[in-house]
Symmetry: none
Subunit: 273 residues, 2 copies
């Protein structure tokens, strides 16, 4: 439910956060596209997926931004007024679900791809994680669009089952593969799973809000800010960390490549090894 009215400050805050997400996703995609030759070919598939995820998110936030602008009109001249719901337009939150349906499985694919595991292990992880991720999003949707708290609760609970399974695979099964990663990135990869957990955790919190009868304009603005920050962390920041991992692994795999890519001082160090 969107609020009946927003103050100028509330309107501007949502407006600026939605625009911040567009800029973050779009220019992370641009950065990674230009920076793609700065890693070895074997890691470029992972970063290509990361670029696509950020681009998909930017696209959906363009839609959400336009939908938001059309859903409210100001009653005043030159701002400092009150915004009310516009006639003939509504704010479409469904875009978020379409976005997640596409990006959440791809986020897991990014992580698996950058590990550059043996093909058999990699396929096993993909088969387990990607359908679970899609199922998690699909099961949440009937609850999100329902006004009934019981329906919301049931589908929220169902959606938690694949979520718990994903966490199990990431923290228990993937843990073994991490020990085979170069020392330079082991810590980063381990922490990356917590970034996933932290940023994904925002979605169930926003999902539960209406069940706790927390509503009104402030709660709605808070939810939009929460989703925005979570999407920046889960996609753009996540992608940049994956890129950092790919770059460190590239240096580790190929000292000549590392020598060309680093300062003359460090370059000598890489070649000498």
């Amino acid at each position: 439910m969107i609020p009946d009215t927003l103050t100028q400050g509330q309107y501007d805050t949502v407006y600026n956060f939605l625009s911040l997400v567009i800029a973050s996703q779009l220019f992370t995609a641009v950065f990674l596209t230009i920076a793609l030759p700065r890693i070895l070919p074997r890691y470029r598939q992972a970063i290509t997926v990361a670029i696509v995820v950020c681009a998909i998110a930017a696209y959906h936030y363009f839609r959400i931004f336009d939908s938001f602008k059309e859903a409210f009109v100001s009653d005043s001249v030159g701002g400092a007024g009150v915004y009310t719901q516009a006639v003939g337009a509504s704010f479409n939150e469904g875009y978020r679900y379409v976005d997640w349906l596409l990006t959440v499985p791809l986020l897991l694919l990014e992580l698996i791809a950058v590990l550059a595991l043996a093909r058999k292990v990699q396929t096993g992880l993909i088969i387990r994680l990607l359908p679970a991720a899609a199922l998690m999003i699909i099961l949440g949707y009937p609850g999100e669009i329902s006004g009934d708290n019981t329906v919301r609760g049931i589908f929220g609970l169902l959606s938690t089952i694949p979520f718990a399974y994903i966490l199990y695979v990431l923290f228990v099964q993937l843990g073994k593969s991490l020990n085979k990663q170069p020392v330079s990135v082991r810590r980063t990869l381990s922490q990356l799973r917590f970034l996933l957990l932290l940023s994904w955790g925002v979605y169930p919190i926003a999902y539960i809000l209406p069940m706790l009868d927390i509503s009104g304009a402030d709660a709605w603005v808070g939810k939009q800010i929460g989703y925005s920050i979570a999407d920046i962390l889960a996609k753009a920041v996540y992608a940049l960390i994956i890129f950092y991992v790919a770059r460190m692994k590239s240096f580790d795999d190929d000292p000549d490549f590392a020598a060309r890519e680093n300062s003359p001082e460090d370059a000598a160090m890489f070649v000498r090894r």
Copy 2:
């Protein structure tokens, strides 16, 4: 606060300056993207960041431009009239803060990356400068949106602390690293810090204006012109200087590359060294 009315001349001036910023940022980004192979791989990360900064600025100026166009309507047909504030729209100055939040830390990253220091020194500078830059922008925002001069003063002062720290790191701590740079760029790099100081200095001046009771249409137009020029200097011109440094350092690192990139006459000189 935006002025109640603008003359045709004032309106056109702001319009043209905003458009000038878009063109400067966008085509600096285009130029650098095409020119990226004209420097050695180890400097391309710095220039990639410069491209992203200019692209982010271009995006926000597109938004600022649209917001400005929507915020004012002319009372006459065919121009030469008076512009008044439009109903149901406001000029969103918040975009500037979102832009700075993303670009100011990246501007410092550009400078650090082009120095191509030893990894340890580089990481040390990043950890010190980037959070300080983000903090400087975040602390300025509550003051900017407040109508109260005391609140404005307090947050302006708080924001000055990280700014002073950045200057200290740039002029005192970084000074030592500059002596290790090739002679051909030492002077340019040293002066680049003054360009930063000069262009960044415009923002606090614009911030203080409302506290001095300097308001009205002329002051507002002046502020928009000041921001526009500062953004062109701090991002586009700055990026081109960083590119020049990267190119000079590339020639210095690799005489064969220098020979290929220079006139046949000069080429002989580079190889001979």
